[in-house]
Structure formats: C-alpha cells, structure tokens
C-alpha cells in the first residue's frame, strides 16, 4: 500500500486524543470508597465487566477512527493486476464498441450479456471525465452508427441504456473499423476503443483486420468472463413435399447444432404446424456436432400453406432455439398424357394405370390434373399450360411436332418418355432424338420362345437404383415394391446422344438401363425403357408403381415449379410479386405493417420489402382492383436468424485485433491503481457510528 499524500500521516499523532479522552473520562467518574463492594461485584459483576469492556472498546474505536482519518487523508492506494480495462481520466477520444447482436441476449448468471456490456461501459464512461469525447458503435450487422465523437456524455449514457439486442449477428471487424475511423478523426493524443462483447470466432471471422499495430489502443472486455457459453440452436430448416406421405405429405428436415464443449443428450425437437405441435423427436449431440433430423408430417385438409416451426426447449439463448419455414403445397401439377395406344376399353388403355397413379382415387386433393390427348391432337395443345408431358407408347412424332416440344423442355418442361409396341426405334432415331437422353434400340423380349412356365424365371427385375435420387427416396434398398416387378420386355438404348447431363437411375438385372434422366436446357427428361401399362411388365400391379410415378412427375415438375425462396435471414429484404394488386400490406412478426400502394405498386411486377428486423412469419394482405382484401398466402415469407450468431465459441487469439492482444505483446501483465481512501472513509464512518452507539449505551 502506498500513499498519494504521505505527509498527511502526521495526523496519526491524533491517536493521543482518544487516549486522553479515555483517561479524562475515567477521572471524571465519581470515586466512592465503598465498603459493601462484594454486593456490587456479586450483584452485577457481568454488568461491571461489560461496562469495563465497553470503555475499552470505546477507546479502541476512537483510536481506530483517528488512524482511519489520518490514513484516509493520506489517500492510500494499492495496485493489482489489471484484469479489467485500463481507464484514465482526462481529455481523450473513446469509442465503445458494443455487441448488440442477438448473441448478446444470452443470459449468463441471470443477466444478459448485453446488460453486462452496458454495465461495464457505463462504469468506464463514469471514469472518463467531462473532457473525453465519446461515441458508441453497435456491432450488430446493419446497425446505424455515429459519424463523429461527442462530448455529450449524458446522451451517450442514454444511448447505452437504450440499447437492446437486435436480431442480427455481430460483425466485430466492421464495427472496429468504424471505431478506428471515428478515433482517427479525433485530435486527442489518447485514443482508445473499448470492445465489449462475448468475443466469438464467428463475429471476427470475416473481413480484414480493422487496424494494424499502430492503430488506437484497444481494450477487450469479454463479458463472458471466462465462462463457457453452451448453446443449442436450430440452424437450418427445409420443408419439401413428400410423396410417400401422400399428396399433403411434407418432409421437414431440421439441422440442430450443439455449440458447446459438452454433449447434449435427449434433446427434444418439436415440429408445429402453425401453433399446433404435430411431431416430436429426440436426438443426442456430441460437443460441436451438427445433426439433421427428418420428420414426415401432413398438412391438414384445406390448408395449402402454413408456417412450420421447429423448436428446441429454451436455453440461455432462446431466440435461436426455433426456426420457421413456410410449407406451401405447390399449385396443382398439370400433366399432359399423350396416349399412344388409346383404347375404348379403359382397362386396356395404355395410360389406365398411369392415370390411376397420378390421381389415386380420382380425388380432387391429389394435387395433379391430368389431361389426356392422342398424338394427333398434340398440335392444338398449349404446352405452357402443363408442367409435365408424358409420351406413353407414342409412335415417333413428326419433326414439326417435336420442335415445339423440345423447345418447351429446354424452357423448363418435364418430359417422360415410355416405350411400347408402337414405338419404332428407327423412327425415333429420325425425329425424336432432341427429346431423348439416349437413342433407342430394338427391345428384347425375355419371354420370346419360352414356355409359359419359364417366362417368370426369365423375366428381368429392377436393381441398382439410385437410392439417393429424389425419385427413389420413398424406396429402401431392395424394396419389394420395385424389386419384385417382372419385366418381360424392355427397350434397349443406343449410344449416348449429345445430352451432356445424363444419369442412369436404375438398371435391370441384365445390366440394361431401366430409367435414364437427363437435363435438357432448363428442362428435365426421363426415359423409361418399359411400358407404363402391363404389356411389358407387371410393375403397375405392385405397390411401388404409384410412388414411382408420383415422384417421377414431381421430379420432372420441380425445375419448372421452382419459385423464389420464401425464407430469408433477418436483415435481408424480400421481393414480392405484386399480383396486379392495388395495395399490399406486409405485417412483420411484431405486428409492424409496411404498406405498398400507389406509385410504389403501380406498373411494377415486384416490390421489395426492404429489411426484415425480426425472425418469424411475415404475412401479406393484398387488396385487388375490385376492393377484395384478404391474406395472400402465396406471398407469405419467413425470416430466420443467421446461424452464425448462435456459435459462441471464443475467438482464438489469432483472430483478435493486433492492438488488442493482452499486454500489447509485451508479455507484461498491466497493473492498475486501486484507490483505497473510499474504503477507509467508509470504515471511519462505521467507527464513528459504533462510537455513538457505545456512548449511548454508557449513559
């Protein structure tokens, strides 16, 4: 301990004062020579002893009070390792870089990290003195920051107190760069940036270093104070149609990340449609592990679009424990079936089984509309009104009919070609090649010349299908629904055509291709080498036929049906189709409404909702020219948190700004002065209080 004014210790001679007072006090007592002292001792020995002790205590208290007074005036101080920031009073330029990202909403010890940051910043601000110029730079992405330093510290304090966590991740490098710019504009020699944040690796990962070693002084205040910040988060969510679960079936795939150094066991994951939980699952996560969980759910009848929420039990950072996606049943698939072998008897028709598979039960909610034409009627058909065209046992089309079809495919259409007895490979070679992934060759008939009882044994079977392809997603390996199908006749394929992107998705047991996929322009073509009816195989009679047809059609239609994503990250904007509406209102999850009408809407095909500020569902209400106002579910979109902010892994020293390394690279732990006179003065007051009590008790 040292003293700023050691001469003031002369005051210690004041120690004599209480001693003198004590002695005078003793002398002041009336002296009585008394005979019956044994009765006094006997009666109140304890009282007397207490009085004696009280007198001595009074003396001690007074002596200590004198010592405390002298020591306090001498201004004692000590020094200790500077764990906290070094703060110097006087003229200087200071920038507080505050992490107000959603990460700062993490609760640690009953307090959010942002509250800790603000406490620390306020303490520093109080020590700077009125001559300091100060600014507050917010570190969350997209935050508006000041352009100059200010001496109005009251406003700075108010600005600090008004801060709340945003829903954006932190970008500390950008914020520090901004701080460096502000400090560079200052005339003060002493320039310091205080970075108050849970300094995470993700928040420093991008961008260049804000300054080099000759930059301003940087005081790092990691508000995590050495504590680990475990966090579970839903980092991805995808909702796709699932044919195996029916026409209203959805596959929900959520990615859960364990940003922690400890394992998380039995984590419960809930899936809700709207506000109704429809599925739950559990998973175990190793430290730092990410896992995907797939749920199959079904949208309720009559609901064509709904928000799907996947959530975890709330943890210290609850805001990233849920993620939302919009599940929207696509507009009905419009399938044009070109029946190359139409019959009056439906059961003999080439596409009887195909139609049944496309519209099971012929129900309106099948999601598919099927239009059947014969090849001759193809000229009058508007192909743009369809998503998928199926050529079922269609004899080779003449060139003038092939060209528009090929153009339609290249523009994004989906085409399925299935052969049959009416398909002549040579004729196809002549005109149909633009539509085919591979040229056709003559079919092989495994039953040719075989006795009836040998036909089954000589039949081919499907094998080696691409299980990872969306078409085969509903099928397991060796699924009997496909593997048991017997193919007695299949079309062989010739050499590869000019189609570059060609994949054999399935083969027969003899190695011949069974299903070939190819990308043609923006479109997709599937070539099936057997018939869609029972003429060449018995697949239509097996349970695998329906999902195979459904998935194939959906696969073909997907590329064409692709629309702008309905999910953005918080902070991003979203383009909305105007749908020739007169007025659009976008309501964010907090209830704030953005209105597009008049000049902002007229004559535009899209408008842009500028910035999403909150995670959740953004609903759009539209008013058409006729004055009809209703929610436009097709425009509903969601915003989710940037998963980068969920990772609270501390930044490694290499990522820290150069000037901010501990001790500025000198290796010496900085020391700070701790003034003690406040404590001594407090002790003095306490002693005076005790003295008053003792005096009162003596009376």
């Amino acid at each position: 301990m040292s003293f700023l004014a050691p001469l003031m210790l002369v005051g210690l001679v004041g120690l004599a004062i209480p001693v003198v007072i004590h002695l005078i006090g003793r002398r002041r007592a009336t002296v009585v020579k008394f005979a019956a002292l044994q009765f006094l001792f006997g009666s109140r020995r304890r009282t007397a002893r207490r009085l004696q002790l009280r007198e001595r205590a009074l003396l001690v208290v007074r002596v200590l009070a004198c010592v405390a007074l002298a020591v306090a005036i001498a201004k004692p101080f000590t020094s200790c390792a500077a764990r906290g920031p070094t703060v110097t009073r006087g003229p200087q330029a200071v920038v507080f870089v505050i992490d107000d990202s959603f990460t700062s909403g993490y609760r640690l010890g009953g307090q959010t990290l942002l509250a800790r940051e603000l406490d620390a910043a306020t303490r520093i601000l109080n020590q700077l003195g009125p001559e300091a110029e100060v600014a507050v730079v917010r570190a969350s992405e997209g935050a508006a920051n000041p352009t100059e330093l200010s001496r109005e510290q009251l406003r700075t304090r108010d600005a600090l107190l008004d801060l709340t966590p945003t829903m954006r991740p932190a970008d500390l490098r950008r914020a520090l760069t901004r701080a460096a710019q502000l400090l560079a504009g200052s005339n003060h020699q002493r320039r310091t940036a205080y970075l108050l944040a849970p300094i995470t690796a993700t928040s420093l990962a991008s961008g260049e270093a804000p300054w080099t070693s000759d930059g301003p002084a940087l005081e790092l205040i990691d508000v995590r104070a050495g504590a680990s910040l475990p966090n579970l988060a839903v980092t991805e969510l995808a909702v796709t149609p699932d044919g195996a679960s029916g026409t209203r079936g959805l596959a929900v795939v959520a990615e859960i990340a364990n940003f922690s150094t400890v394992a998380a066991g039995g984590v419960t994951l809930s899936v809700a449609i709207g506000d109704t939980v429809v599925a739950r699952g559990q998973l175990d996560l190793a430290p730092g592990e990410r896992k995907r969980k797939r749920f199959l759910i079904t949208l309720p009848p009559e609901v064509r679009a709904a928000p799907i929420t996947v959530s975890l039990p709330a943890d210290a950072l609850p805001v990233d424990d849920r993620r939302v996606a919009i599940a929207r049943l696509g507009t009905e698939l419009r399938v044009l079936v070109v029946d190359g072998d139409a019959r009056t008897d439906r059961h003999d028709d080439e596409v009887f089984y195909l139609e049944a598979a496309l519209r099971p039960g012929d129900r309106g909610e099948a999601g598919t509309t099927v239009t059947k034409v014969v090849p001759e009627d193809l000229d009058g058909v508007d192909l743009d009104a369809f998503d998928v065209v199926i050529l079922a046992n269609v004899a080779a089309l003449p060139g003038p009919r092939v060209d528009p079809l090929a153009a339609w495919v290249r523009a994004g259409g989906g085409l399925l070609v299935a052969p049959g007895d009416r398909v002549d490979p040579a004729a196809y070679e002549a005109t149909m090649l633009p539509l085919l992934p591979q040229s056709l060759r003559d079919p092989i008939d495994t039953a040719w010349g075989a006795a009836p009882d040998e036909r089954a044994a000589r039949a081919l079977h499907l094998t080696k299908w691409e299980a990872d392809h969306p078409i085969f997603a509903p099928f397991g390996k060796d699924d009997p629904g496909l593997a048991d199908a017997a193919f007695t006749k299949v079309m062989l394929l010739g050499p590869t055509t000019a189609t570059a992107d060609r994949t054999v998705l399935a083969r027969f047991t003899n190695g011949a291709a069974a299903l070939v996929a190819a990308t043609v322009g923006d479109g997709q073509v599937l070539l099936y080498t057997s018939t869609l009816d029972r003429d060449w195989n018995d697949l239509p009679m097996l349970p695998g036929y329906l999902p195979l047809v459904q998935e194939s059609v959906r696969f073909l239609a997907r590329r064409r049906a692709a629309v702008a994503t309905a999910s953005v990250l918080v902070g991003q904007g979203q383009s909305l189709a105007t749908l020739e509406l007169k007025k659009l209102e976008v309501r964010d999850p907090g209830g704030a409404v953005a209105v597009f009408e008049g000049a902002r809407l007229d004559g535009r095909s899209t408008v842009r909702y500028p910035t999403t500020a909150r995670p959740g569902v953004y609903r759009v209400v539209g008013t058409d020219r006729a004055g009809d106002t209703r929610e436009r579910t097709e425009l509903t979109f969601v915003a989710n948190l940037d998963p980068r902010g969920s990772d609270l892994t501390p930044a490694p020293p290499a990522l820290l700004p150069q000037a901010g390394t501990p001790g500025n690279g000198t290796g010496k732990v900085p020391r700070r002065r701790v003034e003690l006179w406040h404590a001594v003065a407090a002790v003095l007051l306490g002693l005076l209080l005790v003295e008053s009590i003792l005096i009162q008790a003596r009376r």
Binding site: V32, K33, A35, A36, L37, L40, S43, R44
Partner: protein, 300 residues
C-alpha cells in the same frame, strides 16, 4: 432531645460524648440498669396480691405454712466485653459518621453506663495500627478512661484492617472463660466467610449474653449514587467502575437478603440483634439496647 450523631461527633472528648449519650438516654428514666441474665436470690417477702405466683416459695409454705415470695437481685457485678470492629469496611462514612465512629460512640456510651453501675467493663478492639487491642474488664472508675482511650485510638486510626471480628470474639471467649458475661459487638458484619456469625453462636453456646449492633451507613442500604461511579474497596484493591442506576435494584435486593439472613441466623442463636444505621440518634440506640436487656430479664 435526640442526639444527632454528626453533631455529637463534633463535641469534645469521647468521655464527654459517652456521658452525653447516657444522660440523654436516661433523662426521665426511673431506673435504667443494664442487666445481665445472671441473677440470684435476694430475700423473701410475704405474698401480697399482685405478686407473681411463680415466685412463691413452696418450700417455705411447707415449713412455715405462710406464703412467701422469692425476690431476686442481679448478680452483684456484671462483666461486659465491648468489641469494636475497626476493620477497613467500618471506615465507610457516607454522608454522616463513619461506621467505626458510630460504633465506637455507642460502645463508649455503654462503657460509661456499665462503669457507672459499678460493673466491670472490658474492651476488645481491632483495626488500629496495633492490631487487636484488649482492655481487661475492671469496675474501677479510672478504668473507664482506659477503655475510652483505646476506643478513641481505634476510631481515629487512619486505616483499618481486612480481618473480621471473628478473631476478637474468639479472644473474648477465651478471656471470659466460664464466667458469664455480656458481650456487645459493634460491627457491619461484612464477613464473606460468615465467621463472625459463627463466633457469635459459639459465645452464645458458652452461655454469654451477646448483643450485636449491626452498624450500617444509610448509603449502604440504598446505594443512592448517580452517574458513572468508580467504587473503590475499603478493604483490598478492588475497584469497580459502574453506573449505579443500572445495578441499584440488584444491589439492594442482595443487601436486604444479607440483612435478613444475618438477623435470622443471630435470632436463632439467641443473639440480641440491633440494626443500627449511622444516622440514628445514639441515645436511641443506647435505649434500645438497655430496653431490650431489661425486657429479656423480665421475661426470665
């Protein structure tokens, strides 16, 4: 007229004070003698109505067939031992006389009275510079001067001793041997070991008449002091800094308990006990003793 002890103390020699006390006490009294309990037959007197039946001499009735009444007379010479406690605690004065002065005056008056009766009076006193002092009992007129001189010496000694009166009483027991005597003790009986009461009981057991003047200052009964007070022991070096108001009630209770205990113990032993505050007129004290002795004699 009542003799204020403080006023009396300012008068001349102890002999004059003793005489004043006795004269004041006996003024108007038809007969005042200090009796012992030892009496003997004097003569017969023919019975007349009013005489006590218990004094009728039944043997004379048998021999002479007449009623005669026995008349007794005090033993020709009373032997009295006066014991003055001159210990340190007796030096306490309070607002009036010191206890040792009051006790000494009372004993001087008794000595004067006894000497005037031509009875023998002796003195055992302690507490002076010479320790235990003894004046053997004599009936001569000049002997009173010796007694009073020793009394005065003890009364005016600068400081007392820490010893209690038990040793002095034991000495009296030895001096009186088997001859019955009147023993008068003036003391505050502040004896932590109760040895004094034990010694008094032993004297009673030896059939001596014992009178105790329990001398206490009024301040010792009520502890009337106020404010921070440093009590210093008159015997020993004990000191006590205390607030009297905080301890008064307890002190008085203990003092009253001590007095009651002492009175009971001495009454059971047949000791003539007189609680004698130092503000009480000395002639009253003398009269109380004389009257009490007379009463006892008549009861016998």
């Amino acid at each position: 007229m009542r003799l204020d002890p403080a006023l009396l103390a300012r008068l001349g020699s102890l002999a004059i004070k003793a005489r004043l006390i006795v004269d004041s006490a006996l003024s108007g009294q038809h007969r005042a003698r200090l009796h012992g309990s030892s009496v003997e037959f004097a003569e017969h007197k023919e019975y007349s109505p009013g005489d006590e039946l218990r004094h009728i001499d039944w043997k004379a009735l048998g021999k002479l067939d007449r009623y005669y009444v026995k008349q007794y007379e005090q033993e020709s010479q009373l032997t009295a031992y006066l014991v003055l406690d001159g210990s340190g605690s007796m030096r306490f004065a309070g607002a009036g006389l010191a206890k040792v002065e009051y006790g000494g005056l009372a004993l001087a008056a008794l000595a004067y009275l006894i000497s005037k009766q031509q009875d023998q009076v002796g003195l055992v006193a302690f507490g002076g510079a010479d320790g235990l002092r003894h004046v053997p009992p004599r009936a001569k007129g000049s002997h009173l001067g010796d007694v009073l001189a020793v009394l005065e010496a003890v009364m005016t000694a600068p400081q007392g001793t820490t010893a209690g009166p038990a040793a002095a009483l034991e000495r009296v027991g030895e001096l009186a041997r088997r001859r019955r005597a009147l023993v008068v003790l003036a003391s505050d009986l502040f004896d932590p070991d109760d040895q004094t009461v034990g010694a008094l009981k032993r004297l009673r057991a030896q059939r001596h008449d014992v009178v105790v003047l329990h001398v206490l200052a009024p301040e010792e009964r009520t502890l009337p002091y106020e404010g921070l007070t440093l009590f210093e022991a008159l015997e020993g070096d004990h000191k006590l800094l205390a607030n009297p108001s905080a301890i008064r009630a307890d002190y008085v209770a203990r003092m009253d308990g001590f007095l009651a205990h002492t009175k009971d113990a001495l009454a059971q032993a047949g000791v003539d006990y007189h609680l004698t505050p130092t503000d009480r007129p000395l002639d009253e004290t003398l009269l109380a003793v004389v009257a009490n002795r007379r009463g006892q004699r008549e009861r016998r």
